[in-house]
């Protein structure tokens, strides 16, 4: 029966075809796994800082242990007069490592800037300042840290400063924030409010700035 025989052949052929197609399927594609390394980067500069090159030409931030000083000498006749005394710094940092632009006017101003890099969408980095309750002289006399305030500006800036004007609180306070993947900078000009009549001496206190990411 040729016809039956052909039907059988055709059926076998179809089954073979299916089987061959299954076997011919590829064993699988190759997979490349990627992940973000060092997804968070923080850089904070208060006063002088270190940077290899300029960031917008591929520069890399470094570490600088310098603690700058902001100071003023109040004339004896002015002590406690209520006339604010402008302070100066020993910082030499005028140019921004952002683009080498002369953003601040050292030594009158203190440069404060930094950046926050993150691959996660979890808000901004926060800059805080921690000041002691008082400045103290060698005799144990004190001046409240709340007697020191600052204004904020930047050469060429017209908008609001990321780290605006304020007054130390003698504790922890927020100075400003840096949005994700942004560089922020301001120049602070400090002054001593000079509303207290205090004993003669050199009064000192240290403020620590901290940049924290979420």
């Amino acid at each position: 029966m040729p016809a039956t025989s052909r039907r059988s052949s055709a059926a076998v052929g179809g089954s073979l075809l299916v089987a061959l197609l299954v076997c011919a399927r590829p064993a699988g594609a190759f997979t490349v796994t990627i992940t973000a390394a060092n997804p968070r980067t923080l850089y904070l500069q208060v006063g002088v800082g270190s940077f290899t090159g300029i960031y917008n030409s591929g520069g890399t931030p470094g570490s600088n242990a310098t603690v700058n000083t902001v100071s003023v000498t109040v004339p004896a006749a002015q002590v406690g007069s209520g006339t604010a005394q402008t302070m100066t710094t020993n910082s030499t940092a005028s140019n921004s490592f952002y683009d080498n632009y002369a953003f601040c006017n050292a030594p009158a101003q203190l440069y404060i800037g930094g950046f926050y890099r993150s691959t996660t969408n979890t808000g901004a980095a926060t800059l805080t300042a921690t000041s002691p309750a008082s400045l103290v002289n060698g005799g144990g006399d004190t001046i409240p840290f709340t007697q020191i305030r600052w204004t904020s500006s930047g050469n060429g800036d017209t908008g609001a400063q990321p780290f605006p004007a304020g007054t130390f609180v003698g504790g922890v306070q927020t100075i400003g924030t840096i949005s994700r993947n942004q560089w922020a900078e301001s120049c602070h000009t400090f002054s001593y409010i000079n509303s207290n009549f205090v004993a003669a001496g050199t009064y000192t206190g240290r403020v620590t700035y901290t940049l924290s990411s979420p």
Binding site: G13, P26, F30, T33, T41, R180
Partner: protein, 155 residues
């Protein structure tokens, strides 16, 4: 006894068996023996600090030992493509260099890029490709897998 229906079926099946291997078509290539030389590629910021031009690119590199089973298309002309299907991933751009057996190129999810055109001279094609991977650092959600495969178009 052969009916017209039977004959038609027979012809159709024979045609399927006999013609498919020699007609122009696209096939997925068995690249199951290909493997990355590193398990994971860490991507790092291209610019350490944020840039004025808003460059938020992460980049990294990986080497792949490619081994393609081309035996089914021996002695035929074909065009081989690298395929990176859309996978709902963060924006990624992958470029690669080769040792000369395959073409260098660049690919993004959803693309199919020519890497070889010509006769298939041997059953196995081996190549080492150096991938450079770039991703948007603001949209890369931790670990992500890019699944590549190869296809061949035959004449």
């Amino acid at each position: 006894m052969s009916t017209p229906v039977t004959r038609t079926l027979l012809v159709a099946l024979l045609a399927a068996v006999g013609i498919a291997p020699v007609s122009a078509a696209t096939f997925r290539v068995d690249d199951g023996a290909s493997m990355p030389l590193e398990s994971t590629t860490p991507l790092r910021w291209r610019q350490f600090a944020p840039s004025r031009s808003n460059d938020n690119v992460l980049e990294g590199a990986m080497t792949i030992a490619v081994r393609l089973n081309l035996a089914p298309w021996m002695n035929r002309n074909g065009r081989i493509f690298l395929v990176l299907p859309e996978q709902g991933t963060a924006p990624v751009r992958v470029s690669w260099l080769t040792q000369g057996r395959l073409l260098p190129g660049e690919i993004s999810p959803g693309m199919r890029v020519l890497v070889y055109a010509g006769p298939v001279a041997g059953p196995i094609l081996e190549e080492t490709i150096a991938l450079k991977i770039e991703a948007d650092g603001t949209r890369l959600p931790g670990m992500q897998r890019l699944r590549f495969h190869f296809e061949i178009d035959t004449d």
